[in-house]
Every structure is written in C-alpha cells, then in structure tokens.
Symmetry: C2
Subunit: 326 residues, 2 copies
C-alpha cells in the first residue's frame, strides 16, 4: 500500500513513523502548503512536494492521509481530495460530523473512491466502544472521561492570557467519579465532578501572578466550570517536564440484564497514551488499510469506524485471526 500524507505537523509525523511499523505499507509522498524546500522529513526516499502538484501523483497513491485542522482545513480538504484519492481524516468537531460526512460521501461516491472520516481515538476507538456497549447492553448509561492528558485548545487559551509566556493544560479525570462509575453506581455527574484542570504556566518577567491565576480560573467555557489548579514554573522546568503530548481516557457502559434487571455489568475501555498524535496516527493507518481494501472490492463513498468490519484492519488473513486472536 502506497501512502501519502497531506500536511507535516505532529499528526503527520506520527503517520510517518507508524508506516515503518506496518510492513505492508510504504510512505511515498508528503504534500505541503508551505515551500517544500523548507520541509525536512525523517524518512529517506520520501518525496516532498507542494500540494499544488498533488494530482500529478494520483496514480502512485493508494490512500491519502489528510493531516489538517478540524476547524477550517478538513471541511474543505477532505471532500476536495476525495474526488481524486481514497482519503482518511481525523475530523473531530462532533456537531459538524453529519455535514462533513455528506460532503465527503458525495465526492467519494461520484468519483469511485473510498473515504473514512473522524478516525482516531475520540472520535474513533471511543466511539466504537460506545456503540458496542450500547448494542450489548441496551438498558444502561454511557460515561466518557478524558485524561490525564494535554488539551491543545486549553493550552492555547492559557497562552493568550496577559503576562503568560508559555503554558500547558492537563485534563484529569476525577478519581472518585471513575470509581463510582466502575462500581456500577450510575452516578449523575456535573462537569466539575468529572474532570479537573491543571495548568503549568511560565510567566513573563514582572507579570502579576495573582492576576494570571485569576484570569485563567475564571475564563468562560474553558475553565470556569472546573476546579482548576495553576502552577508557575520556570522556562527550564517547562522545557524539561512538559514537552510531551500524552493523553488518554476512559469509556464506560454500565447496564443491567435479567428478568428483574437484577444483574449489573460494567464495560470499561481505557487508553494511556504517551503520544496523542502518534497513537491517533496509528489508528488512522489501520483504517487506511481497510478503506484501500474496500475500494479494491468496489465499495465506495464515505465510511466511519462503525462501518468497517474489524478483519479489514489487520494484514493477517481470516484463517490467522480465527486461529490466533479469536
């Protein structure tokens, strides 16, 4: 399978490194909106080109992995490139998924391609676990917790506060809430009861630290509904301890069965990830394999993780997975 990447940020680098772990795949191209001369990739033999030239390489690409931002890039890019390629993206603006799906489906179907949107871990693996949980236990409750991990959006918000030189925000699930769900107590949880937010801030010299802390903790939508902790640290500490992009979380389905609904069941799925973009990239590649295979079978249009039979994700044969994984 010949893979190409559009973009070259953290997610794209995750795809680049993950291709090396999948023996049936080869990374052929990185397409960039920047000057290609300024983009140095980590893999010998990979050709870097301007995205303006992408159609010239159409015949040599099995799946194009689109590594753009959900806010503005992907709603434009994925439908556009679905006309000429099998494409996959990690679109994660939940409210706009139906619209994005329709646009990508139309472009892919009209041109005989296969696309998959909203891939990764949430949306992605967490969505799958919610679906499996609901199908198996129709009478029950869903819970999703995120973290411990870095929220890019909240870190950006901190850095916009006056007097802040650098900052990073960790979302942390509340342990007692996790335990209550795990014990099948089916608690009703407020926003504040589910997650706390921990901020590490490098202040500018002479900045008013009390004011910074106040501005962060009261910020509407981002922090005001949470218990937030603010730690001021030096630039050295920041660079030493907060360079990584870990994340993770928990999906629970808690339900009942029995003639008198007397038996409780708790299904729990959790991820503990040292690198959010590299794990997301690893999920994208497994699904890239699936859409390439589906396209070869003549299945076209837009798919989500819900539409993909798990066997399509692995390079192993049906005989092998039945013998070793079933």
């Amino acid at each position: 399978m010949k893979i190409a990447i559009l973009g070259y940020g953290n997610l794209a680098k995750g795809v680049e490194s993950a291709v090396r772990q999948n023996k049936d795949m080869e990374l052929k191209y990185v397409f960039t909106r920047r000057d290609p001369a300024g983009v140095k990739v980590n893999t010998d033999g990979v050709i870097v080109k301007s995205v303006d030239e992408i159609l010239n390489y159409k015949q040599d690409i099995d799946v194009l992995v689109i590594c753009g931002g959900s806010a503005t890039d992907l709603p434009e890019m994925t439908p556009k490139y679905a006309k000429d390629f099998n494409v996959i993206d990690s679109f994660d603006t939940h409210a706009r998924i139906p619209e994005h799906f329709a646009n990508v489906d139309k472009a892919a179907k009209e041109n005989g391609h296969t696309a998959l949107i909203s891939c990764g871990w949430d949306p992605g693996m967490f969505s799958l676990l919610r679906l499996y949980g609901n199908a198996i236990l129709p009478e029950g409750q869903d819970y999703t917790f995120w973290g411990k991990g870095v929220s890019q959006g909240h870190s950006d918000a901190i850095r916009r506060v006056k007097g802040v030189k650098n900052g990073k925000q960790y979302t942390i699930p509340v342990q007692s809430a996790l335990e209550s769900v795990r014990n099948g107590e089916n608690p009703t949880l407020t926003t504040r009861q589910k997650h706390t937010r921990e901020c590490f801030v490098v202040a500018e010299e002479g900045a008013d630290l009390a004011q910074i802390e106040h501005d962060i903790k009261t910020m509407p939508n981002y922090f005001d509904e949470y218990d937030t902790t603010v730690h001021f640290i030096s630039e050295e500490e920041f660079n030493r301890d907060h360079k990584e992009i870990p994340h993770g979380g928990f999906v629970f389905r808690s339900g009942v069965t029995g003639f008198d609904k007397e038996h409780k069941h708790v299904i729990e799925y959790s991820l503990k990830l040292d690198s959010n973009p590299e794990f997301t990239a690893s999920v994208l590649l497994a699904y890239a394999r699936a859409i390439f295979r589906l396209n070869n079978e003549g299945v076209t249009g837009c798919k989500t993780v819900f539409d993909i039979a798990p066997a399509y994700l692995t390079p192993l044969s049906g005989e092998e997975i039945r013998a070793h994984l079933l």
Copy 2:
C-alpha cells in the same frame, strides 16, 4: 426479528430475558431435547417444542440461537441447523475453531444461510479487542486475564473430588500482575503469576478435609500450576453466598510508537459481570441482529465477530450513530 432458542439452560434463559430489552426482537420458540411438557419458560406466548419438530417452524424463525455445550453439542448442532436457519453459537473450544468454522461455513453457504460462531465475551468481545489492539499497535504485547469469576469447568472438577458435596471455584487475576501490565512494564508472566484460584467447598459429613484440600490443590491441569485456596463452608453459606455466576476479565494491548519507539501506549478493556450467561446472551443477540441483516443483504456463510461491521449490531440508523455515538 423472530428469535428461536435451541436448549433451555442458563445461556438460553439469558437470551430469553435479553430479548425483552431489544425492541426489534421477539422470542417465538424454545426447542428442547427434553420432553417439552417438562420445560416451563418465563415468557408468556413463547411456544416450547421438541427439537424433532424444529423444521416445521422454519418459515417463522429469523435467527436460531443455539445454546448447547462446546464439547459435544455445538460441533454437531451448529453445522446441522445452519442448513435450515440463520444460526449463532458461543463455541469456545479455541483449538477446534478452524474446523468448526469450516463445517458451519459449508452448511450455511450451500443453503443460503448466515451463521456466526464463537460469540460472547471470550471468544467474542475479548477477541475483538485483541484484534483492534494488534492492528493499531503492531509492535506490542497482548495480555488477557480472567476473573474475578466462576469457572464452570473448575467447579465441576472440585465436585468430582472424593468427599465433596458441593463446590465452586473463582478465578482471580493477580493484582500486582495487572498493575505491572497497566504500567506498560511488559512483564513475562507464568501461569502462577497471572491468576489465583479460590475454592468454596461443602464437604460430606465425616469427610477428610485435609485430604480434600490436598486432592484439589494437586489436581493436574486444573490446580497444580496455581496458588489455590480452599475454604470449607456450610451448605447454608454455599446457598446464600455462591448461587450467582459472576465473571469478567481484562484484555490489554501494550505497545510502542515513534521514530525511536520512545512512546508507550496501554489499551485496556475490562468486563465486570454479575451474570456471565446473561452478558454472553446479550452479546449473542446483538450479533443475531447483524447476521439477520447480512442475510437479508445476500451475504451468506459462516462469520465471526471479526467479520461484522459494528453498525450492524445496533437498531439505530447510520445517521443516528454518527450524530450520537461518534
């Protein structure tokens, strides 16, 4: 969807109660090898018939859920009934899955039916999680732990010991082993290091308790490779505290990503089940829905959980699951 059950043990009763939780399903028949007059079901309107008459009801059954034993019943029954029905079973003799699959596949394909074997939680949901984990993190290790829960096979083995009137065995994962895997330490674990076995025994009057304990703890294959605890209890305690059939377990995939494989990731899936047969039955019904739909689409032959796109498991539409679960 019209459901019929073959057999009427614990698993079948689980299917009977789970049908009530699935609004698109109706339980029409229970077929038994016993005298049907002696089988009292829990649901009004369900018709109990001898299995000898099953072909008379062929036109009124969408999926036949075969609730037999893996050792001798299912290898005979599932291929036999796949000739006349869409069928599903919970065949769990791992070593014989390839042979069972081939037999069922032939019978189902030749007669235009759809079958699914080895459904439940292990094999079943645990298998799926192993497949997803391997596809996403190709470089890593799998771990499966079972418990805390009742092992039927080990309980049967205890009851065969001289001087034992009744007995139940719980399989318990070793907490320190779970923690080590959860921390991404990738331990190499012996059988003894993964699980302990706890036995609750009602002895016959005047039995030699020390001899019973010795006979259990040294029993080859069942107990000799484990740290086993034996508790002697009264019949009253047994009936009060050990009537339920709980189970559960953990599946982990622990792997690495990154150009230097410098990032660790741990995927964990766990089940905590008050009733093993009722949960297994709930999984069976979700997959019964899937094979009925696939059969309507003209897809025939034998499937496993690996072959079923998750969207087929839920009564919700594609639009609904994309809007609410993705």
